[in-house]
Amino acid sequence: MTIAGDILLRVEHLTMRFGGLVAVDDLSFEARQGEITALIGPNGAGKTTVFNCITGFYKPSEGRLGLCHGDAAIWSELDALTDSGKRGITRGDNGLYLLERMPDYLVTQNARVARTFQNIRLFPGMTVLENLLVAQHNALMVASGYTLFGIFGLPSYHRAEHASIEKARDWLNRVGLIHRADDPAGDLPYGDQRRLEIARAMCTDPVLLCLDEPAAGLNPRESAQLNELLKSIGNEHGISILLIEHDMSVVMEISDHVVVLDYGIKISDGAPDVVRNDPKVIAAYLGVPDHEVEKVGAEIGL
């Protein structure tokens, strides 16, 4: 059903202004189904702003953010959808959504885009297991008859809760946190918190997982484990990943496609190898004008 390589997310002319500051300027790129797309760039390039626009936390000043579920053929209806003023359409299992029109919680609930945060945002006073159950809120809400069945303790809710605990258990096994299930999330070491946040995002059943610097603060061993985890999420579940990352070992090893931002403008877009050798990218990272790249590169032995 899902054909790897079909377009999942289409960002077109995304612009985000804060007062006079243009954080993201006319950015367009595509993310494909089942692939890992990395968004890189120096600090302050506007990467997190792009994330916040995609996940509905910011309303873009301009631009269109299309997301497709299932068969890519539904993209043909994009213009009609845009003109209709609706947030999205569904055709059986397939759907097409305009993320810029949706509030943050609907981006997760309907368009099934999940995210993590640069500065981890767990529920520190709740246990690891509770964190994962909160992520299954919407499914459980329906199962509890919007609280009504649940309050009378009907068996249908118990079954649903049991299933969601099993799902949480499954994810805890995969991220290696099963032994910490009943501990408060705030008690976990940093690396575990990162993995828990990813597991929690996965519990929302996303089609697109947006990770904001998942390797930040991890040691090399944890970083390698993270690579494996992300690859398996892509391979086994067919879930696409959009990734902001500074750790080039992670980016170059696991991503299928890299988009480079500098001062809110896209300066490069392509396969990791292509991007790595793009003089514009090197210039941006070194912080020098294009024509000085070779000179500076020679100085630092690049």
Partner: protein, 305 residues
């Protein structure tokens, strides 16, 4: 028109009192991020201290010069109220600094209940009325038998408020203490690292807040000639409204907010309904917080994702 002019004068007077109390709220909120719920009651305590001092001066010592009496009363009230607020900060708030968010709020509410009941128990529940301290007025204009007046006591309130605000502005903007305060507002730990005595700065903030509340309390007593133990809550909430309206953390905002609240209240009483005058103040509070949470002069609070 005459009514409006008269209400304008009354409103500015009332607003000056609110403004003085509001500075206390805004300063304390600015520096330790807490709504000092007991501040209204500190104002009430100040009015009582002023009452006692006034009675000592007039009935025991037989001071006949009102100017001298008022000056002494003002100084005594400022001293004692500062001491009270200094002790309150030491006992009820300092142990809770850096603690959980709700603890200082509950502690302050407890302190507010304690103060008003302390005054009730020690001074009795009845209204305390004194003969008018200052009499006389200027008649500004007369029209159809309606005289617009500016009383001497109103003039005193304007004058005292203005002088104090200038001194206060100098203190905050030009002195070492003011710089230390602003440093603590930004980042207490960093301020401590660069040699600011954070505890002392916060204590002094409470002392200054209390001194200004004491001036407000004295002016309130002089203006209305009556005070009771329950007079802290409503002026306290209104002054807090003023601080919020001006933008909490902003000192000029507190003064302007106070004047606005005073004007809104007197105008509302004159043109709409005196019964619902408190509703006006409370509604302004709610509307400001909902639609303009940063107030008129405050910095907007941006939600970080």
């Amino acid at each position: 028109m005459e009514v409006f002019l008269q209400q304008l004068i009354n409103g500015i007077t009332l607003g000056s009192i609110y403004g003085l109390i509001a500075i206390g709220y805004t300063m304390v909120f600015g520096i330790i991020g807490m709504v000092n719920f007991a501040h209204g009651d500190v104002f009430m305590v100040a009015a009582f201290v002023a009452l006692v001092a006034f009675l000592i001066l007039t009935t025991w010592l037989g001071v006949s010069s009102i100017a001298v009496a008022l000056f002494v009363v003002l100084i005594v009230a400022m001293l004692f109220t500062s001491l009270v607020n200094w002790i309150i900060e030491r006992l009820a708030y300092r142990p809770l600094r850096g603690s959980f968010r709700l603890a200082p709020l509950i502690s302050a509410i407890g302190m507010s209940i304690f103060l008003s009941n302390f005054v009730q128990v020690s001074q009795g529940p009845r209204n305390k009325a004194i003969p008018p301290m200052v009499q006389g007025e200027f008649v500004l204009l007369t029209h159809n038998d309606y005289a617009v007046t500016l009383s001497f006591k109103q003039l005193i309130i304007w004058g005292v408020t203005a002088v104090l605000l200038v001194c206060f502005w100098y203190l905050v903007a030009r002195t070492r203490l003011g710089r230390a305060q602003r440093a603590c507002e930004q980042d207490q730990r960093m301020a401590a690292l660069v040699g600011v005595n954070v505890d002392q700065t916060i204590s002094l903030t409470f002392v200054i807040a209390a001194a200004l509340a004491a001036v407000a309390g004295t002016m309130y007593l002089m203006y209305y000639g009556v005070v009771s133990f329950s007079d802290g809550f409503v002026p306290g909430v209104k002054a807090f409204t003023a601080a919020v309206l001006g933008g909490i953390g902003s000192l000029p905002g507190a003064v302007i907010g106070g004047l606005l609240i005073g004007l809104i209240e007197t105008m509302w009483s004159a043109y709409f309904s005196i019964d619902y005058k408190d509703v006006a103040a409370f509604s302004v509070l709610a509307i400001t917080l909902i639609f303009l949470p940063q107030g008129l002069f405050g910095r907007p609070d941006v939600e970080k994702v």
